[in-house]
């Protein structure tokens, strides 16, 4: 167990002050996934570059069973992209998306703590203040509720602000503005005022950051009417979702994960924007649908390796869109496999998994051959001790065991 975990864990160790040395973190196991990303284009709609290889997903079914990650065989074959693409880390992909949008539209601006001259605690806004000035990349005093309110006011006046929470957990202070104003004002004003803000920041359980800095806010925000929520998990979808969120006229909350900022991947040189409401097919399969998002995607893929060796063929979907759910993709998968496992980092009570379970039961009950299984974190604050923290997060062996139980 420890060795499987190493692949993900050790490479992404970070300190809570999080200014990374980009050289030391090479996430090699993801590289193979990234190759697949360039060729297996999941974006079926929404103005994205399509690869001619994409229609081979179903056809490669036999090949895929032998390789959980299903990319190495593809890599040499996929050369439909005209340019070679460039490699970067996830936080750089976010920055690239942000910079492209700031270049494209002068109304796009950023506000948050330490985003300006410091470049952001996770370096997502590094260099932007020097390029666009410190009014457009604004350092704010420490008052999340108020600078979120500021972003909302600026958005009503025509700007398109990106509000950064240094850690998603701090946005709890902004809940009043997010729920009562951000989500509501377009509606209560009768459509007169729109709030095209993007609220983003790192969340999730990190490496011993303590309970207060290990929050999963998607569970608290999911009920708020009027907002959209997406979670990125790879450099490719991070950039695409960032751009889509900025261009959207709705308020969008973009969930990033503290431990994924140093993932490396090769992304296209051409411009692309992803669809905010679409899920991503990570690994097609036949036996069971595994729904996951953000960091848990990697735990699932680790488990998938083991499962494939044991003869299972899991279909892994990164749901990406947390509000609303992409029930089209999810539904098609369930109609095929008839078994669902949800793997999430949220707490069991009231998490994304709980809502997803309800949505699936309501819509696809007849297609299920087994009750939906949901693996979540326990309903405890995240402990600081490393071993205890590890036990609160769903680990690959648990995923393997769950699939085995589901497919009995």
């Amino acid at each position: 167990m420890a060795s499987i975990f190493q692949g993900i864990g050790a490479a992404t160790s970070l300190s809570s002050s999080a200014s990374f040395d980009t050289k030391k973190l090479q996430f090699s196991s993801v590289r193979s996934l990234s190759g697949k990303r360039a060729s297996c284009v999941v974006m079926r709609s929404g103005g994205v570059k399509m690869d001619s290889d994409s229609n081979r997903i179903g056809g490669r079914g036999d090949q895929l069973v032998t390789n959980a990650v299903a990319t190495k065989a593809d890599n040499p074959a996929s050369s439909t992209a005209s340019k070679p693409g460039h490699e970067l880390l996830l936080f750089e992909a976010l920055r690239e998306g942000l910079e492209e949008e700031m270049e494209r539209d002068a109304r796009v601006c950023v506000m948050g703590e330490d985003v300006g001259h410091y470049g952001g605690s996770y370096k997502v806004t590094k260099g932007l203040a020097q390029k666009y000035g410190d009014l457009r990349v604004l350092d704010t005093p420490i008052a999340e509720n108020s600078f979120t309110g500021m972003g909302i006011g600026a958005a009503m006046m025509g700007l398109r602000p990106i509000i950064e929470g240094m850690n998603m957990g701090f946005l709890l202070l902004a809940f009043n503005q997010i729920s009562n104003n951000c989500g509501m004002l377009h509606y209560t004003s009768g459509g007169q005022f729109k709030i095209p803000v993007v609220i983003r920041g790192p969340g999730g359980v990190g490496r011993q950051l303590g309970a207060e800095h290990s929050q999963r806010l998607e569970s608290y925000f999911q009920s708020i009417p009027g907002i959209q929520m997406v979670a990125c998990s790879t450099p490719y979808n991070a950039k695409g979702l960032m751009k889509a969120a900025i261009r959207s006229d709705n308020p969008v909350i973009l969930f990033e994960h503290v431990l994924l900022y140093n993932l490396k991947e090769r992304i296209p040189d051409e411009e692309y924007v992803l669809n905010l409401e679409e899920a991503e097919m990570v690994r097609p399969g036949e036996h069971v649908t595994i729904l996951t998002y953000s960091r848990m995607r990697y735990h699932v893929m680790q488990a998938a390796k083991t499962l494939v060796n044991k003869g299972y063929d899991p279909e892994v979907i990164d749901i990406r869109s947390l509000k609303p759910f992409d029930l089209y993709t999810i539904g098609n998968s369930i109609k095929k496999t008839h078994r669902v496992l949800i793997v999430e980092e949220c707490m069991r009570t009231g998490g994304i998994g709980a809502s997803l379970t309800a949505a699936i039961t309501e819509n696809f009950h007849d297609y299920l051959d087994a009750p939906i299984m949901c693996l979540s974190s326990q309903d405890v604050p995240t402990p600081y001790a490393g071993t205890l923290e590890e036990w609160t997060v769903v680990q690959p062996p648990q995923i393997v065991a769950a699939v085995e139980q589901l497919c009995r």
């Binding site: 500021m150 006011g153 602000p161 209560t188």
Partner: protein, 455 residues
């Protein structure tokens, strides 16, 4: 020579910039002896100097701290929590409706003065009649602005129509000034299909994009940081306008007030913070709300220029807001205005303020300090108004209002589709499904649903 040390001269040593926290490197011992006129010394001279230094007076008299030099003091002197004298209040009209002798009140034209007065009367009549409509059960809720008509109208008159307004909820007069009609007010109160808010908000939560007046949100003081953000947007887009936000004495206790003022000063944006200190936050008197000298003194704490005005003196408010707006835009600075006034009515139709405050206090403010009556005296003295004009205005407004109410009452409510629009720019699948389910329910159980709502 080294012997002539003058410690009594006050020295401002221009060698060191304001940002230095530590003494500069050429100082060997880490302390900076300040000598009259001397700027630096070599190692040898320094050791000679030390022998001759007396031990009583401090060697360093001030500290170079970020933000400016700070003088030391050898005695513990705590600044008091409040000044001996309260901050003065700007007022230009005396009780007889005459301009005070050396006031700097701006001159206003007859046209402007008469419009201001007419709108104050309209506001007063509107409040009375809509309040009664609520009592009759025709409107579900209402909030009056009684006692604060001058604040509403005079501040709006001093602004430009391009200045964005972020109201709390006791400022319909600003909308009225900008041209919102009585019919439009009535439509919102009844939540009918002509309401710009499409029937989604409770009464008095007006909002109008074309009048640059943001929809009222029930949450207290959340509009303050929003106004700051909007001012930031204006600064970024180099617009020749400002934002104004209103809040009460109660709203000034919130965290958003603090951070809004703080941010606005740091970012240097053109926003006017207008505090209607009317003495009461529902049943909480200001003695239970804060212990500072009102709100005006807090401006200094954040670095925001501030002024206290008499909230019942329409001319004083006009002049103050006019000047504040000029300052805000030309100097790109926030400004805080505290208007002392009184909430002569109840907090809302859900409140009976006689339960927690003496009736004679209410009556004194409502009658003797009535801002409408006071301004009337002034324009009458100028010969711009008459009793006949008064009764004509009041009866005309009353008539318009009753027509507006009757018309608004008869209009259909917004259709079911409006329940699901505007949550997002385009309704997502789940909302479309929920709408279908609702429509099916309405069809199946038509008698359980109101008949005057279009399906």
């Amino acid at each position: 020579m080294f012997g002539s040390i003058n410690h009594t001269s006050s020295v401002t040593n221009s060698l060191f910039s304001r940002q230095f926290l530590h003494p500069p490197l050429q100082d060997h011992a880490g302390i900076k002896p300040f000598f009259g006129g001397r700027r630096s010394h070599t190692a040898t001279s320094f050791s000679n100097d030390v022998d001759q230094l007396p031990t009583e007076a401090p060697l360093q008299q001030e500290l170079n701290f970020p933000g400016g030099k700070v003088k030391f003091m050898p005695k513990r002197i705590f600044t008091s929590g409040s000044n001996e004298e309260r901050t003065n209040c700007y007022r230009v009209l005396n009780e007889n409706g005459e301009l005070i002798v050396d006031s700097d009140s701006l001159k206003i034209s007859k046209e402007l003065g008469v419009k201001m007065y007419k709108d104050m009367v309209t506001l007063q009549v509107m409040d009375t009649i809509f309040y009664e409509a609520q009592r009759q059960g025709r409107v579900s809720f209402y909030l009056t602005t009684i006692g604060e008509e001058a604040i509403n109208i005079a501040s709006a008159a001093a602004l430009d129509n391009n200045d964005f307004v972020f109201p709390q909820y006791r400022e319909p007069g600003v909308l009225l000034w900008r041209g919102f009609t009585l019919q439009e007010f009535a439509n919102q109160l009844f939540g009918n299909k002509y309401d710009y808010g499409k029937g989604r908000q409770m009464p008095i939560h007006y909002g109008s994009k074309k009048h640059n007046y943001v929809t009222v949100s029930s949450t207290v003081a959340t509009q303050i940081p929003q106004a700051v953000g909007a001012a930031y947007s204006m600064k970024m887009q180099k617009q020749d306008s400002c934002t104004i936000t209103y809040f009460g004495d109660g709203g000034s206790s919130t965290g958003d007030f603090h951070a809004g003022l703080n941010f606005s000063a740091v970012m240097e944006v053109p926003v006017i913070f207008f505090c209607r200190n009317n003495g009461w936050a529902i049943s909480t008197p200001i003695s239970d709300q804060f212990r500072s000298d009102g709100i005006v003194v807090r401006g200094k704490a954040y670095g925001v220029p501030s002024i206290r005005v008499d909230g019942n003196d329409a001319l004083a408010i006009y002049s103050a807001v006019y000047e504040a707006r000029k300052m805000a835009i030309e100097k790109q600075t926030p400004v805080l205005i505290e208007a002392l006034t009184y909430r002569a009515g109840h907090h809302s139709t859900s409140d009976d303020s006689t339960k927690y405050r003496p009736v004679d206090e209410i009556e004194w403010w409502r009658d003797d300090q009535n801002p409408v009556k006071w301004f009337k005296t002034w324009i009458e003295n100028k010969g711009w108004w008459s009793d006949q004009a008064e009764s004509e205005q009041r009866s005309s407004v009353r008539k318009q209002l009753s027509q507006a109410i009757q018309a608004a009452e008869r209009v259909e409510k917004p259709p079911v589709a409006d329940m699901f629009n505007d949550v997002y720019d385009v309704p997502p699948k789940n909302l479309n499904e929920q709408e279908v389910i609702l429509r099916e329910n309405i069809k199946k159980h038509a008698q359980e649903y109101p008949s005057n709502v279009a399906v």
